[in-house]
């Protein structure tokens, strides 16, 4: 992998001036992923913050060819682009080596776009799919998604008198994608840029589909200060809320192994969306959250052969 000095000299493919919020994790995720590409990249995005903020007509922040189609189909759309590429190369109409990446938020990936993603991965297109996971439908005003953590208050799972935020645990999308038995699946965080760029590099280099799930906090939805984005993503990793791992040709590998996990409250406490969990009488909810982390962490370690 390139050094940080070399990476700093790489041209920015997503330029500044886009309208994403200060402290948004999505653009950081995109820029780190694109740093892992060494060939011409064609990008696409599902409808969402990333898309509306980077392409307000007549402007575009993308310095590479880019397509947005709709919400649930960024994988299917990019699979069409990739198929066109294979065809046009075969017919001698294009020679340049190109790579393909589709981005989607957790709403467009865990929920409405899961079928389209699963289909594209199963068909074996030579493309990378990147989910920038901020744990809710942030673009439409912080509604609950399949990725929203247990207990989080969103506008459709508010913390009320009888319901303390989202009652369900999150869906483990990375493992669902690993079950597709594609060449490369990884979970990464914008706080661990070296790990993420390396994973992106691997994803772009494999022959066939690759999937990366990237922790990309949303200060608006999480009720965290803008300047805390990187720090809170780091805490997500340190608490085991967001373990860093990869599945390369079926081999599971844990990329970050702390001696001991920090308590999940370190991740929950700074976020306004979990404030209600810290009220007296809600201790059992914090215990439930911790128990879920412990269970998942122990399962993941077993899968990765770590004791």
């Amino acid at each position: 992998m390139a050094t940080i000095k070399e990476l700093s000299r790489k041209p920015e493919l997503l330029t500044g001036g886009h309208r994403l919020c200060a402290g948004c994790g999505a653009s950081i995720a995109v820029r780190q992923v694109l740093l892992g590409a060494n060939d011409q990249v064609i990008a696409g995005s599902a409808t969402g913050c990333l898309e509306v903020s980077t392409t307000p007509y007549p402007f575009s922040a993308w310095k590479i060819p880019f397509i947005h189609n709709a919400f649930e189909n960024s994988a299917a759309t990019m699979s069409g682009v990739e198929a066109a590429y294979q065809s046009l190369v075969r017919r001698g109409k294009i020679e340049k080596k190109m790579k393909f990446v589709a981005f989607g938020g957790d709403g467009g990936t865990y929920d409405i776009g899961l079928q389209s993603l699963s289909g594209a991965m199963e068909r074996g297109h030579d493309m990378v799919y990147v989910c920038y996971d901020n744990g809710a439908y942030m673009n439409t005003g912080i509604q609950r998604s399949g990725s929203t953590p247990f207990g989080a208050a969103t506008t459709t799972s508010p913390a009320g008198k009888v319901r303390p935020g989202k009652p369900q645990q999150r869906k483990d999308l990375t493992q669902i994608m690993a079950a597709h038995d594609i060449p490369y699946v990884a979970q990464a965080s914008i706080s661990h840029w070296k790990d993420l760029v390396k994973k992106a590099e691997k994803a772009f280099s494999v022959d066939g589909p690759a999937f990366i799930n990237v922790m990309a906090p949303c200060p608006r939805g999480w009720r965290t200060p803008n300047e805390m984005t990187i720090e809170i993503s780091k805490i997500a990793v340190q608490t085991g809320f967001w373990p860093l791992y990869e599945v390369e040709d079926g081999e599971w590998k844990l990329n970050f192994k702390p001696k001991e996990l920090k308590p999940i409250t370190d991740f929950l406490k700074p976020q306004g969306r979990f404030r209600h969990l810290f009220k007296p009488g809600n201790e059992h909810l914090l215990e439930t959250a911790q128990a879920e982390i412990d269970k998942n962490w122990s399962r993941l370690k077993k899968r990765c052969g770590v004791e």
């Binding site: 011409q40 064609i42 696409g44 898309e51 509306v52 392409t55 307000p56 007509y57 007549p58 402007f59 575009s60 993308w62 310095k63 590479i64 060819p65 880019f66 397509i67 947005h68 189609n69 709709a70 649930e72 189909n73 299917a76 759309t77 990019m78 699979s79 069409g80 682009v81 990739e82 198929a83 066109a84 590429y85 294979q86 065809s87 046009l88 075969r90 017919r91 109409k93 294009i94 340049k96 190109m98 079928q115 389209s116 699963s118 289909g119 594209a120 199963e122 068909r123």
Partner: protein, 401 residues
């Protein structure tokens, strides 16, 4: 008509096999499709061509029709010549993508084998699927026979990709009636089709010139959205001339001349039926029989439904005394079927115009025999004779009371 095609072959095959054959001869860069009755045999037949190396198309077996149209949009934006096929629920599932394809001005060609929309679920022919998609900015061509389905498929490519059109085209034929019945028709030589459709090179694409990157599908707020929708109207209105230019070029090649619509025994007619799809054949048969009895009846068979040739239709029908419009789909909650409503509206500002009645027929594959056409003509004659006033309410033909 003199034709320039070196040779044509007479074949006996189904309408679907004819469409698959046309697709083979076109050899598109990408096909993304999902099976659905009664379209399935098109994609099966095409899969055979792919499996046997007869074509070198990149064939994407998507997991749904929504993804079929999504992948077609991606592939077309990438710069490829793209085709697909669907019916009924499949078209309904594509709904969201249809207006994105036309708004992005992507020349995707889709065989739409007409089948009734659920519910109740039904697999047989009516036009409720494509008629439900009539305002999505696609060009709509209707075929009466397997010959027309085959011919329209080839012409659709040229129309869609024309630099002044750049719009997707839906090419319709009737489920089971045309799709699964074996018909006798003429097919062009592979080389003639290849030459006719030519090479495709889009002006803008994702792949051809990545050094000058293009963003497809940006976010257009109130300051820009309206103008883009206007451009779509201008494009589809203007496509009428291109449709006819391609149609005339095709006639020079094949000897088969089509129009925006066909006028059958309309010159001296007092009454006429407006219809599209396979029922035009039955109508022609009934007209000949009634002409023999001295009834001056004709037919206007619509081929191009979008862009709707309102001016030409008004001109063709204005001198008649009574016209019955037959729709194989119902637009519930309004005056009648879509062809009726639009034909009637097309004539509103004519100084001279016929009395008009709307008929719905054949929903969900209900058989439409000559008796129903005779009923319509009989009704129109009564109106002409002053024995009945033109009906305001739509008449449902062949429905059990």
């Amino acid at each position: 008509m003199a034709k320039t095609a070196t040779k044509q072959k007479i074949v006996a095959m189904t309408g679907n096999a004819g469409c698959a054959l046309a697709m083979k001869q076109i050899n598109p860069d990408v096909v993304a499709a999902y099976p659905i009755t009664p379209q399935t045999t098109i994609v099966e037949e095409f899969a055979n061509y792919v499996a046997n190396g007869v074509v070198d198309t990149e064939y994407i077996n998507v997991e749904s029709e929504h993804s079929a149209m999504s992948a077609c949009i991606g592939a077309s934006a990438a710069g490829a010549r793209v085709m697909t096929s669907t019916s009924s629920q499949g078209l309904a599932l594509m709904w969201e993508e249809l207006s994105i394809a036309s708004s992005l001005r992507l020349p995707i060609v889709m065989q739409t084998v007409n089948r009734a929309l659920s519910g109740p679920i039904n697999i047989h022919c009516d036009h409720s699927d494509s008629m439900g998609a009539r305002d999505m900015g696609w060009i709509h061509l209707f075929a009466e026979t397997a010959q027309e389905a085959y011919d329209n498929t080839i012409m659709a490519i040229k129309i869609a990709e024309h630099k002044d059109v750049r719009l997707p085209v839906m090419s319709m034929h009737d489920g089971f009636i045309t799709s699964h019945a074996i018909d006798r028709f003429e097919v062009l030589d592979d080389a003639d089709v290849k030459k006719f459709v030519g090479d495709y090179m889009p002006k803008h694409s994702l792949l051809y010139n990545p050094n000058e990157p293009v963003t497809f599908g940006p976010f257009a707020m109130p300051a820009f959205y309206y103008e883009q929708r206007k451009q779509l109207r201008v494009a589809i209105d203007g496509s009428k001339d291109i449709v006819m230019k391609v149609t005339d070029d095709f006639a020079k090649l094949s000897g088969r001349q089509y129009g925006l619509f066909e006028e059958y025994r309309l010159d001296d007619a007092d009454v006429a039926i407006v219809v599209l799809g396979s029922t035009a054949g039955t109508t022609r048969y009934v007209i000949d029989a009634m002409r023999a009895q001295g009834v001056k009846v004709g037919m206007l068979k619509l081929r191009v439904f979008r862009p709707f040739p309102a001016e030409e239709i008004a001109q063709a029908l204005s001198k008649l005394k009574a016209v019955g419009v037959m729709d194989r789909s119902d637009t519930v909650g309004t005056l009648g079927g879509p062809v009726y409503v639009e034909t009637k509206a097309a004539l509103y500002n004519s100084k001279q115009r016929p009395a008009m009645q709307g008929y719905v027929y054949g929903l969900g594959g209900r058989d439409t025999g000559p008796d129903q056409i005779e009923t319509v003509i009989g009704d129109l004659v009564k109106v002409v004779k002053g024995e009945e006033s033109p009906r305001e309410a739509v008449t449902l033909l062949g429905v059990k009371e």
